[in-house]
């Protein structure tokens, strides 16, 4: 732990030394195979021993309600699990339960976001194929992120979620750590001195990034709108060539050729737009939610720092008055803050790395779809029409 002098100055807690991070890590992680990659301090994929999948949506109709369940499949070699394989059915509510439990029990960690909970009944069809498909992909991503996380994946609530036949949500597993409790009980009286610069930078980054993603979302929606209007005009355009072909002799085949190409263009455009709204936009929006989660974690960190500083200040004053020694709670608070900072930083690096991969994939996917569109449109023009012309 750090020196006392550093604390009485009121200077913010320094970044924890690598030693304390790894010791913290070792306490929780049973897997000895650690990859020392600085960018991804928590490991590499070769040592993964927990695999989860969400698929197979099914509709359930009861007298009370209608809802969708998804199949959650697990394969694992971890000893925390009784069996090597599990297959259970879960609904959205269950995922939400898991998320809340994780947030409560691991307040210093970034919990991945879930897709939107409430959908306006009149506007969106909750049982349409597209909606269910999109939601399922987001749930799958959520669960995979949790399963890949070195700390969260060992959470007992996750274990229950993946393995229990019936998820008894009312019976909360008694695992609320002291850390969790004290964070909850922080009163409004504590005010943080200053957010350390590295966390400031994180906050600023998140704000700007969130803004840019919002802009990209708007641009994508605008493109969808323009494409839809283009499609409408294009359809009429194609029919005009067909009807002209009907009143011509020599020109009939070339005109029909052009009509055919326009039709291909229309189909290609439909596919492009569908991909944009089914695959591109949902991922974008999910990241905006992710950013909000990260901001929350930053705020919680601030709160715990504030609490520590407040208690310390009070204790120091008391010591000056009647030589009462600094109580144990204050040291425990300090530990807590250090813990929080270390977890957050590690999660941040991990998040940045994942973000890079996710966006690389998302944007190259968008480029690919556009390339496919042009290739699809070009083919019949080259093959079919030019031979018709000859």
């Amino acid at each position: 732990s750090t020196q006392e002098a550093g604390l009485t100055n009121g200077t913010p807690v320094e970044t924890s030394s690598p030693a304390s991070v790894s010791s913290l890590f070792n306490r929780l992680q049973l897997d000895d195979d650690l990859d020392a990659d600085s960018r991804d301090p928590y490991g590499c994929t070769e040592t993964r021993d927990l695999f989860v999948t969400v698929d197979d949506p099914k509709k359930h109709v009861s007298t009370m309600e209608t809802y969708i369940t998804y199949r959650v499949s697990t394969k694992t070699t971890r000893i925390e699990f009784d069996l090597p394989e599990y297959c259970v059915r879960r609904r959205y509510q269950d995922f939400d339960w898991l998320r809340i439990k994780l947030e409560d029990s691991q307040p210093t960690h970034l919990i991945p976001p879930l897709p939107e909970k409430f959908v306006m009944k009149g506007v969106v069809d909750r049982f349409s194929e597209e909606f269910v498909e999109t939601r399922m992909k987001a749930l799958d991503k959520f669960l995979k992120r949790v399963a890949d996380h070195p700390v969260l994946s060992f959470n007992p609530h996750l274990n229950a979620f993946l393995s229990a036949k019936d998820l008894n949500k009312r019976q909360g597993l008694a695992l609320l750590t002291k850390v969790g409790e004290s964070v909850k009980h922080v009163a409004g009286g504590y005010k943080m001195r200053a957010r350390p610069p590295e966390f400031c930078a994180m906050g600023e980054y998140l704000d700007t990034f969130s803004q840019k993603l919002g802009t990209i979302d708007r641009i994508a929606q605008r493109i969808l709108k323009e494409q839809s209007e283009y499609l409408t005009e294009l359809r009429e355009y194609g029919t005009l060539y067909s009807s002209w072909a009907g009143s011509e002799e020599e020109l009939r085949r070339p005109l029909e050729g052009v009509a055919g190409c326009v039709t291909t263009c229309c189909t290609g455009l439909e596919d492009l737009s569908e991909n944009m709204s089914q695959d591109f936009l949902p991922v974008l929006r999910e990241y905006i939610l992710y950013i909000e989660s990260m901001k929350n974690v930053l705020r919680k960190r601030d709160l715990s720092q504030a609490e520590y500083e407040g208690r310390l200040e009070a204790a120091v004053l008391r010591k000056q008055e009647d030589r009462t020694p600094i109580p144990m709670e204050v040291e425990k608070c300090q530990d807590k803050v250090e813990c929080f900072n270390a977890d957050l930083k590690a999660d941040w690096e991990r998040w940045q790395s994942n973000k890079r991969q996710d966006f690389k994939q998302l944007l190259t996917g968008m480029a690919d779809k556009n390339i496919n569109y042009y290739e699809k449109v070009m083919q019949p023009v080259i093959n079919d029409t030019l031979t018709r012309f000859k």
Binding site: Y205, T208, F209, K212, T215, I216, I219, R222, I223, E226, Q227, E229, Y230, E233, L234, E236, Y237, L240, Y241, S243, W244, S247, E250, L251, P254, L255, G257, V258, C261, R356, F359, K360, L363, T364, A367, D368, N370, I371, Y373, Y374, E375, V377, M378, V381, I382, T385, L386, F389
Partner: protein, 434 residues
Amino acid sequence: MLMTLMKAESSHYSYSVRNSKLILGKNSEFLVLQCFSNFLMKPCLCGIKMVEEGCTLLRRMEICVAEAEKRSGKNAVNMQETFTVYLIETRPMDALNEGRNPAPDSLWRRYSEFELLRNYLIVTYPYIVVPPLPEKRAEFVWHKLSADNMDPDFVERRRVGLENFLLRVASHPVLSNDKILYHFLTEVLAIIFPCFCLFSIRRFMEMKHYSDELQSHTSQLLRARARVADRLYGVYKVHGNYGRVFSEWSAIEKEMGDGLQSAGHHMDAYAASIDDILEEEEHYADQLKEYLFYAEALRAVCRKHELTQFELEMASQDLISKKQQREELATGIVRTFSFKGMTNKLFGQEAPEQREARLKLLEELIAEGEDTVKEKTVECEEHVERAWVDMQRFKEQKDKDLREALINYAVMQISMCKKGIQVWGNAKECFLKM
């Protein structure tokens, strides 16, 4: 530009020139056109002589519309106006074939003078499908193109269209031999456009139907194409916004920054590429427009034939009624009601000398009428033949031209796709490097 109208010997038939400032009266009149750049008054009556077909003007001289310039001046109602004039250059083919490179003869003409030339050709050769002029005002615009006649792009496309018109006329087996055309191209003098009679024929119902179809299809297609172009423009341009936001985003990224920034530039390039693509498509639209106007020319030929047929029928009716009058006068039996007949009954019959005089006049008129009807019938039949021939020629030309236009259009689409693939491929490379 000054114009004078001179009345000449009246003939039985009348004609009115549409869409010009020269509204004529009932009798045929001569129009005198004076060129703007040279206030010469050299009236010259040019006859129309048909040289043997197949020897077109274009073989004897090279023609082009080289330049366009803005001019200002006072118009016919003494108001200041700005307009564009076009330089017509001609060079003799035999000089070029011998390897010499003489300076071209040139003169400036404005659009309305081309219109007058075309109207004259329409009137003089009513059985010919006369090539159309480029549009008078910019129509079928999609929002980017200016609808302004002084816009440099519009002027340039009009210059090309006018040259195209002259080349088509000069290569037509019949029109190219016209003396007025030759003077239009080469000499600065006053040209007189005499007006002639019109003819009609019923056989052209089919032709009329075809021209209606052609007109309807091309105009609908042109309108739809303009709407499609407008929408496509929107799609491409919105992508330009990606360029800006990727650039801003790259500023807060470390490893991803370069890739994002470069990708942004490619998005800008994508958005910019639509301008050239659509500009090229305008050429395709121009080719369709030419045939839209050609359809109008076809309809004009049909209308004129209908009108002439109507006149022939009127002449025939007139002849019939005159013959009936003669019969009544000769036999005294009144078959039809007439005012003269009534007054005769009221005021008593006329003197025999008067009757003789009237009969004699009638006989003269009937003889004239019979000649006229005979003439008109022969002319009608001749013109049917000639018009039919020209229509077949027109159809062949149209099929060839539009086929080529459609192929070019297909090639343009392929080119557009290739550009799209290239730009998105480049962007993808940048994304992979993020």
